[in-house]
Amino acid sequence: MRRWRRLVAPSLAGLVLLVGWEVGVRLSDLPAFVLPPPSQVARTAVEVAPLLGDDVATTLTEAGLGLLLGAVVGLLLAVLIAAFPLVSDTVYPLVTLTQTVPTVVLAPLLILWAGFGLLPKVLLVALTAFFPVLVAAVTAMAAVDAEHAEMVAGLGGTRRHQFWLVQLPASVPGALGGLRVAATYAIGAAVVAEYLAGQSGLGVFVQRSRKGYEVDQILVAVALVAVLTGLLFLLVDGLARLATPWQRPSLPSRPGRTPA
């Protein structure tokens, strides 16, 4: 019942929007280079699909590598911040500062320093991805259950034991939560980087389409970014579940009577 609603309700809402769009465009006689109707976007999608394979592969590679790099760096930094107060005081504000630089400013700089290849895109994705991982992991490590820390201390555990037995594992669910958030940004960040300077990728496709005023192709790319992001999110979510098997029954038992 609940699953059914979670699947059908948004699909229905999406369908209503699409129909509204189609009808609206047809009634108002908007030219296709301003806003094509969804039926035309769908036709274009079928046409260009065979040409998009390489672009999609490039974008996915950048997003995947960037996400991985970001997650590793985020977790390592979180560990350092949790273990050494000095690092925390020194690094945390600076790291937060990196997040205030807009992507459109950062991307050309990265390209300047790292060339036109894959590397600057991966770095840009990593720069957007590591922050949510870092913040979530640091928060989780700081909020370690006093009960667990006390138990380790009561058995004679040192700070090293606290770290390996309690702090680090306690941060994993938090870090994975951050990674889920990061996964939703990754594809978008890769596309922006490609858009600004790239030879291949969905961003390049968008750039080309924009120059030709092919709005329908841009919309195809938009839909593709959404779908790819959704798939990446599902993948990360699945991996996160595998990595935290003790959290499986996360559904709280709902209060109320058991049905007769």
Binding site: H148, G156, P169, V172, P249
Partner: protein
């Protein structure tokens, strides 16, 4: 090698645990007031008292832990390494039962294979066999307590500090665990044990000495050596001491 059974607790020797003039204050609450306690090496002391009188607090202090927000005055000495079992089991949710049981052994730096073999034996003895790979949330309250006790005893520390280890057990399992704990001492390990309990009979069965704490702020109102033959008299004095406090006023 028959000496360890008959000797009375050697309170004259260097004590395994000692607190003197211990006062613990939380903001707005005095939990313990001027508590003196000496526990000899190899001695088994039970601590009873009404809920909220500071038993857990006393045990934490003996374990060398300072409860958060507490002001502690007085002298404490716990020279040998202790293993403390919290009242709430403190199991780590991200470790299965067997790895949870090995936490104490790992901290003590024991060889992993040896500790694991011993742990598997104890899983059997504690009625936990078959649950080695269970997650803590899949265990019942009593099973979690037994697992926590196993984790605490496995490293073989000379001092055990147990905070209501059998609170969630049914009468029969409780008796079995009591027997196991009693056997631990008789086997000649010479372990010092401080056990917090609400069960007077358990205290009399296991302990060489029973300490009765008063209502908050906890003070020692009775320090009763348990005679090895016939505990009826001791039982009566204990119940009397506890009843004075819980009588409606």
């Amino acid at each position: 090698m028959t000496t360890s059974l008959s000797t009375e607790a050697p309170t004259t020797a260097v004590p395994a645990l000692e607190v003197a003039g211990l006062t613990v204050t939380f903001p707005g609450v005095v939990a313990l007031h001027d508590v003196d306690l000496q526990v000899g090496v190899g001695e088994f002391v039970a601590v009873v008292g009404p809920s909220g009188c500071g038993k857990s607090t006393l045990l934490r202090i003996l374990a060398g832990l300072t409860p958060s927000g507490a002001t502690v005055t007085g002298a404490t000495a716990c020279p040998s390494a202790a293993a403390w079992m919290p009242q709430r089991d403190g199991l780590l949710p991200w470790r299965r039962a067997l790895p949870n049981a090995l936490v104490g052994a790992r901290i003590a730096g024991q060889d992993r294979t040896v500790a694991e073999a011993r742990a598997r034996e104890l899983f059997d003895e504690f009625g936990l066999a078959g649950f080695e790979r269970a997650w803590p949330h899949e265990l019942s309250g009593g099973m979690r307590q037994r697992l926590a006790l196993l984790r605490t005893c496995l490293p073989g520390r000379p001092v055990l500090l147990l905070d209501e280890p059998f609170g969630a057990l049914d009468a029969i399992t409780r008796r079995r665990m009591n027997a196991w704990l009693a056997g631990l001492d008789l086997a000649g390990h010479g372990r010092t044990v401080v056990l917090v309990t609400h069960d007077v009979d358990e205290a009399l069965l296991l302990a060489d000495r029973v300490l009765v704490l008063s209502e908050r702020p906890g003070r020692v109102v009775l320090d009763l050596p348990v005679p090895r033959d016939g505990t009826d008299g001791a039982r009566r004095s204990l119940l009397d001491a506890l009843e004075v406090m819980t009588r409606p006023r």
